[in-house]
């Protein structure tokens, strides 16, 4: 049963990935404008969800420090800087708390 479940999960996951890329035409007009706006807000929402989880629980201090540091350097718009700042803040957070 677990094998079937894993297989079904694989089908669902790949299907969702392929749906827009394989079967839909490239967006145009207002749909294109909407689609172009979507990624940044989606990643921001995912950041919040990853931080607080389903129950919107207060995150552990090191994780909160990491996220705060990432936000602080976000205007730099550099993935490497963001990751480095986040990791450094996480390590600092584990020392302090």
């Amino acid at each position: 049963m677990d094998v079937a479940l894993v297989a079904a999960a694989a089908v669902v996951t790949y299907g969702s990935r392929a749906a827009a890329i394989v079967f839909l035409p490239p967006p145009t007009g207002k749909m294109l404008t909407f689609i172009e706006r979507l990624p940044a807000p989606l990643f921001a929402g995912l950041a919040v969800f990853a931080l607080v989880g389903d129950a919107a629980a207060w995150p552990e201090p090191p994780a909160l420090c990491a996220a705060a540091a990432a936000l602080a350097v976000a205007p730099r718009r550099s993935l490497a800087v963001t990751l480095a700042a986040g990791l450094a803040a996480y390590l600092l957070g584990t020392v302090l708390w």
Binding site: F43, A70, L79
Partner: protein
């Protein structure tokens, strides 16, 4: 036009992301092995390639959830792939079979990297995708093999919000997008507080709402 934050070549930007994914893979492998067994745990990473879906699946199975409940949760988490796929669609090749192959590597991180390089999004998606895919499987194998995940789980959990903040900052190229991004983060939190059952749907709903609002 290249967006700042993604150096040439792609690999230097991908390596830390693949590293984080590999660490998460170790955690997954260690967590899933008692429930699925070693071979099926590794196979799940090979055929699903979704940390969110796989962790959710294992978590629900551990709680005795039915297969339907697990599949529903996986489907909800997968909804964001529709948005990500639509965002990257225009950068994909004309060949449907090539697009089908590229679709395998549609995860949050690879799409974010690919969108930061719109002139080479297909290539970036493939290269980043392969690196992340291999890291995920390798991490799973290491976890299944018995590597201790103590301490790694907290680190891995802290890294992903940082990654998403980084990807959001790459995509928010003007004040309008910065405002929408901030609004989406706030709305996601509000939705999760008001309706905890929304789970993985909350960021998708929030992103759609703020992206649809306002004039062109």
């Amino acid at each position: 036009m290249r967006v700042k934050g993604l150096p040439t070549p792609v690999l230097p930007a991908v390596l830390p992301i693949a590293g984080a994914i590999g660490v998460f893979g170790v955690v997954y492998g260690a967590a899933a092995r008692p429930l699925l067994g070693g071979p099926l745990t590794v196979a799940s990473s090979v055929v699903v390639f979704s940390g969110a879906a796989q962790f959710t699946m294992v978590g629900l199975l551990a709680e005795g959830a039915s297969s339907l409940a697990v599949l529903w949760a996986v489907a909800v988490l997968s909804l964001r792939h529709l948005a990500l796929g639509a965002a990257i669609r225009s950068g994909m090749p004309d060949s449907r079979s090539r697009r089908a192959g590229a679709a395998w590597f549609v995860i949050d991180e690879t799409v974010g990297l690919a969108l930061a390089r719109p002139d080479e999004s297909h290539t970036v998606l493939l290269r980043a995708g392969i690196a992340c895919y291999l890291a995920w499987i390798a991490g799973t194998v290491v976890g299944v093999a018995g590597a201790a995940a103590v301490g790694l789980e907290a680190l891995a959990a802290a890294v992903f919000p940082v990654l998403f903040v980084g990807l959001a900052s790459l995509m928010a190229r003007n004040l309008d997008l910065v405002a929408r991004t901030s609004a989406a983060a706030t709305l996601t939190l509000v939705l999760l507080l008001a309706w905890p059952g929304l789970g993985g749907l909350a960021p998708v709903v929030a992103a759609i709402a703020v992206s649809a609002a306002g004039r062109r």
